[in-house]
């Protein structure tokens, strides 16, 4: 919401309780032209970072307070668009795998090769961009949709299901078929759509 529609998703956060790791990562990413916010704990991160801004969060699995997984779950709970990459230490591979399975983008084992690290971060940012675009489109669609009256929304949903006006009138009785036709025309006009197929796709794509 705060992001401008055209803003690239290059927001990067590093959360690691080891200062050397945190700083070296920040420096490495900085050397590759990324702006990086670093946090020493999960709590700091959740409190201080803009969690709704698309981007990538690199989380150490083993943190002082909240664990990396707990932080990740907190992000999921807030429906954050941040793409998460985990850092795992010795013997934490199974935990990292579990994290990826529950929706994290990827994991990296410490110590890891810089190219692999940069590559992973790059792909994560790309994914973040996609997520940002989708969010934007959905917001636009929602804005259009919000212009419809409740009755028009009702009629539009039934139209999207491919039902003829007559049947819609029956289902929404005591609504006349002509009134349905009017609502239908208004909805198409407001949403800028031409037919019921487009309407169906519009509703599906934007989760309306």
């Amino acid at each position: 919401m705060t992001a401008t529609p055209s803003a690239p998703a290059n927001h990067l956060c590093v959360v690691d309780d080891d200062e050397a790791v945190r700083r070296s990562l920040g420096l490495l990413l900085l050397s590759r032209g990324h702006a990086v916010q670093t946090f020493a704990s999960g709590e700091d991160f959740l409190a201080g970072a803009d969690l709704q801004r698309p981007g990538c969060a690199i989380l150490d699995l083993r943190l002082g307070g909240m664990s990396g997984l707990e932080v990740f779950h907190a992000l999921q709970a807030q429906d954050s668009p941040l793409v998460v990459v985990f850092l795992s230490g010795h013997g934490e591979i199974p935990m990292a795998v579990a994290a990826v399975q529950s929706g994290a983008f990827d994991w990296l084992e410490k110590p890891c090769h810089d190219e692999r690290l940069l590559d992973t971060v790059g792909r994560a940012l790309q994914r973040a961009g996609e997520i940002a675009a989708r969010r934007q489109a959905r917001q636009a669609a929602q804005a259009l949709w919000d212009k419809l009256t409740p009755r028009e929304m009702q009629v539009a949903r039934l139209v999207a299901e491919g039902k003829p006006n007559k049947q819609i009138a029956q289902e929404l009785a005591p609504l006349e078929q002509r009134t349905v036709e009017t609502h239908r025309a208004h909805a198409f006009a407001k949403l800028g759509l031409a037919n019921s197929h487009q309407l169906d796709r519009f509703l599906r794509e934007h989760g309306l």
Partner: protein, 722 residues
Amino acid sequence: MRAPASGLRRVALWAAALGLALLLIGLAAAWAERREARLQADSVRRSMEVHALALRDAAGKYRHLPFTAGLHPDLRAALERPRDAAAQARANRYIAEVNREAGSDALYLIGADGVTRAASNWDTPQSFVGHSYANRPYFVDALAGRSGMFYGVGQTTGAPGLFLSAPVRSDSGAVRGVVTVKVSLHPQQAAWAYARDPILLSDARGLVFLSSVPGWLYHALRAVPPAEMDRMRSEQQYGPRPGFPALPWRVDREPGKPGESGEGGEAGYLVRTELGGKSRRFLAVDEPLPELGWTLTMLSDHAEVARAGERAWLLGTLAAAVLLLGGLYWQLRERRFAEQRNARRELELRVRERTQALDEAHAFRKAMEDSLLVGMRARDAEGRITYVNPAFCTMTGYAAEELLGRLPPYPYWHPDDVAQHWQHYEAMMRGEPALSGFESRLMHRGGREVITMVYTAPLVRADGTHAGWMSSVVDITEQKRAEQRQRQNDEQLQHAQRLASLGEMASTLAHELNQPLMALSNYASAAKAFAQQGRADLLADTLDETMAQAQRSAEIVRRIRGFVRQQTAGTEACAVDALVANALALVRGDMRQRGARAQVRIAPGLAPVRGDRVLLEQVLLNLIANALQAMEATPPQDRTVDIDAQACGGRLCIRVTDRGPGIPAALAEQVFAPFFTTKPAGLGLGLNICRTIAEAHRGRLSFADRPGGGTVFTLELETDAP
């Protein structure tokens, strides 16, 4: 309720039986008496016949004498001419002659007027001549032309006799006189006196005129009617008697009926009378003599009959008594038989019950034995198997028939433990079985090893003699395996616990090392980028950071050693043999699994070492474990770890020697380096830490090749010198 009733019935029965017996005895006695009476009567009658014959003879002998005599002319003449003395004399002489010849008492001729004309006793003072006998019946009869017979007392002589008379007829047939002969019956009477029993003769009127008992003479058997009495008086039959007293008899019984008396005629009757001052009873038998008009009565002592009755009674009673006794005996016998029968039946019942109980007990025992999981085996005194239960058969895999009668070696003995089995067997034969049981390894027929616990107890017969041995055999294979598993688990757990501190330390170390390594990598990468971008200031900073992280890594490795040193803080005197034994105990499971052995040689009298017992054991444990792992390719029979401890130059050397392939020279340099491992799962810290521990104890850990293959690790430690 029942007993009294049956008692009453029994009493009634007994009474009835007694009554019946008495009745029978009575009947028998009566019969015997009657029979005796009849016999007696018969006998009396027989003897009476003799007497009757004598009487008839006496009468018959002279019957025709009067008639014959009357034919004599002299007698006729005497009658014809009453005044002719000569004729009279001739008649007298004749009569006397005849009388003498005939032997009669008297013979005399009576004229028609009743006066005697001639008599045989004419010349005696008692001469009948001149006496009139017109009143006498015999005269009356003869005068009427009949022959007369009359017994009476002589009017002249007063002597009794039998008078027989016949008429004397003239030529014309008219009766002119009567000839009478008098016969004395005295000889008969005299003969009666010799008879044992009284005899009496009575006339038609019932007057006794002859009797062996003088007192009974001229007594009446029955009352005489007065007319008869008058006549008798006139006839002077029994002399001048006013009357006839009744015979002192009491007839007890009517004479038996003729029909009953059988062949002997009347049975007689019972008479009670006094004789010789004694009251006696007689059986009287009458014998009528019709031709004479008399009745001969003979008495027989009734005592015989009574005795016969008594005898019969006695016999009957005796027989009854015998019967009773016999009955009692029979009853007793029956009762005894019944008792015996009952006893037998009861015995049979008990035997049956007992048999049933025995069968049940047997079935119970069998079910018990069959259900037992414990094997049971009985052997006789020679060790021959006499019994095995199904559990034992299952345990060994042999059928009972295959085992019964077998002597050792038994087929189920484990081939590896035969010596031990013999030992146990011989101990048992000596009578020293291990009562607390012993462990015994058996071989199932299928080749499976069965570990058992055997408990043996002597089998003693009921009479106390020793019959053999009973063993219970418990299969403890599973238990043993479980124990083994448990021990292995325990060992592994202990091992793991002992390694835990080291493992945890290693894990922490790895994680800690990863951080600076990660940072190092990042900084290096950043430095590379900055170098390319020509940003010298950032590059220098980054390189500084890089160096710092390298330092940090080194610091972490140092901390490991510090940690180990920290662990050796506690020191104590440790006996070498205990250290070795404890270390070996921890690898025993591993050793068994690998089929390896340990040979321990510890020199005697070694001084203890000072140090941390757990860490020193850990070193030994690691060395032994490494030795075992090194021998994985060694043939099983050669898998031996030699552990020997001895003093070496004031210090102590513990050598752990394996027979593995040895350490290649190329790797010898790295053996103690951190993170060096030949094992896929190894951390590579074992020997490194071992050496650290050894050094922490101011000792040394070194290794060398073993001659003939393998490696010798030597742990050198300071002794705890006093």
